[in-house]
């Protein structure tokens, strides 16, 4: 009998202690944010979205190689000898036309491994997190600023160059057999 009442007493007393804690929290400022109305400023390192400053990219593909899930896809076409693509902001020469630079953010695991090896620091994470899409294909971000026509032209030039090179090689290869 005594045990019974002791149990009831203890249960009520400890619940009241707990409720006291809750009650005290009525008088402290709230820690939550009303999200769409209030926004928190994220620290500069936060990894929300990848961004490529394509003007600085030299097409070295180090980021592509560092990525563990292969979500970066880069196509490059070598510049001609007399073609000058300009310099990057830290003074590196750009040897490639970067005809394709796609990052599929729906595959990305936000590990940040791609941003460290970049020699020109042109690929980096930004704290912008509001880019939800209705269609998954919209998460495939295209950073290259070449138009399809330009790309086709460059590809044609590259193919011609290759063909010429192959022809030259074939000629060079023929000679010894002819002799």
């Amino acid at each position: 009998m005594r045990e019974y009442f002791k149990n009831i007493y203890e249960a009520v007393a400890t619940i009241l202690i707990g409720m006291g804690v809750t009650l005290r929290h009525l008088f402290v400022p709230s820690v939550t944010l009303q999200y769409p109305k209030e926004k928190i400023e994220l620290p500069p390192r936060s990894r929300m979205q990848l961004y490529v400053n394509i003007d600085d990219c030299i097409g070295c593909r180090q980021c592509e190689r560092a990525c563990p899930v292969d979500c970066i896809e880069i196509d490059t076409i070598k510049a001609d000898k007399d073609e000058d693509l300009g310099l990057t902001s830290n003074g590196k020469k750009k040897p490639f036309h970067v005809t394709r630079f796609d990052i599929d953010m729906s595959k990305c695991c936000f590990c940040n491994l791609c941003t460290f090896p970049c020699p020109t620091e042109c690929i980096y994470m930004t704290p912008d997190f509001e880019y939800a899409q209705e269609d998954r294909s919209n998460l495939n971000f295209h950073f290259s600023n070449y138009t399809p026509e330009q790309v086709a032209e460059l590809q044609k030039r590259e193919a011609e160059k290759k063909a010429a090179l192959a022809a030259a090689k074939a000629n060079a290869g023929k000679k010894p057999t002819a002799n």
């Binding site: 804690v21 994220l42 620290p43 390192r45 695991c109």
Partner: protein
Amino acid sequence: MTQWNNNFPDSRFELEVPDPLKTDEYVLNMGPQHPSTHGVLRVVLKTDGEIVESATPYIGYLHRTFEKHAEHMTWPQVVPYVDRMDYLASMNNALGYALAVEKLAGIEVNERAQYLRVIVAELNRIASHLVFFGTFGLDLGAFTPFLYGFREREMILDLFEEISGGRLLYNYIWIGGVAWDAPDGWLEKVIKFCDYFEPKIKEYNDLLTFNKIFIDRTAGIGVIPEDLAINYGLSGPTLRGSGVNFDLRKNDPYGIYDRFNFNVCVGDGTRGVVGDSWNRYWVRILEMVESTKIVRQAVEQIPDGDAKETVPKNVRVPAGEIYFRTETPRGELGYYIVSDGGKNPVRVKVRAPAFSNLSVLPAVAPGTMVADLVAILGSLDIVLGEIDR
């Protein structure tokens, strides 16, 4: 046609009743999607009324072939994958992997980086135990502690976001060091957090730990005796809750843990009996206090220097193999790594603490109530991401 006969009892009802009354056992699937299974775990219960006769955990719903993936990744690329095993304590997972590879490759790590690693690992231990604190209360029907636990955890995550950029999966601890040095004022913020956090423990105790109803639900439930715990290979707070004083940070110190002064918390039977759910819970509450102690000491002792100094550009690991174990919030996390001197590991086998901890469930479940099974499962603090990998 049956002719209705008003003379009762009828001979047709004179069935033979076996003595004692035999009832069929009832097979019940708990999970895979069930809030108390902390992920996707299926427990097949054979129950007799409300009493569990046997419980068999079925796992594999979260299998992501981590170990196979690791064979195709370069050494640093494995780190984001180990982060995803025990997603509540990513830092601790990465720490174990980094230490293992460093030992195999003979890489000396910069002092400052080592201290930063200890700070983030211990903060992550607190964060992980806070999730446990919240969800364990939630399992037993106490919703409020969950919000309190997550409030403090949020602060730790903010600290992590500032230093590493990630909130859950950090890729912060690298082979040979850390990804970034701490930003300005970060260490002061850590100390501020410790100051804020220590009094909160009392709040948790008032709210949940010494609540009579909570004690009644957990004390004496799911008692794992010392020998059973050792036989099943339990580790971490689950083992210490059974009164075994074993903590790898003390018993087999790795990294710089031998420089810190802290206690190993063991279940002491303050309430209930040693080895029950309440004591496993209590060990984790005590451990949070010890972790703040370690964090404080680490911040005090941290030297200046370049935390990224010893991160190699290309990780070269000579041929060989290693087994390395560290203490994560869930217990002994072991990495068995084989290298053939190439760019990728040949084999990365993980000894997941939660896997062994879960294995004890069929041994303690028989004879408990279904509702108590939830308490036992909660007190084992499993993370399915780590069990299935």
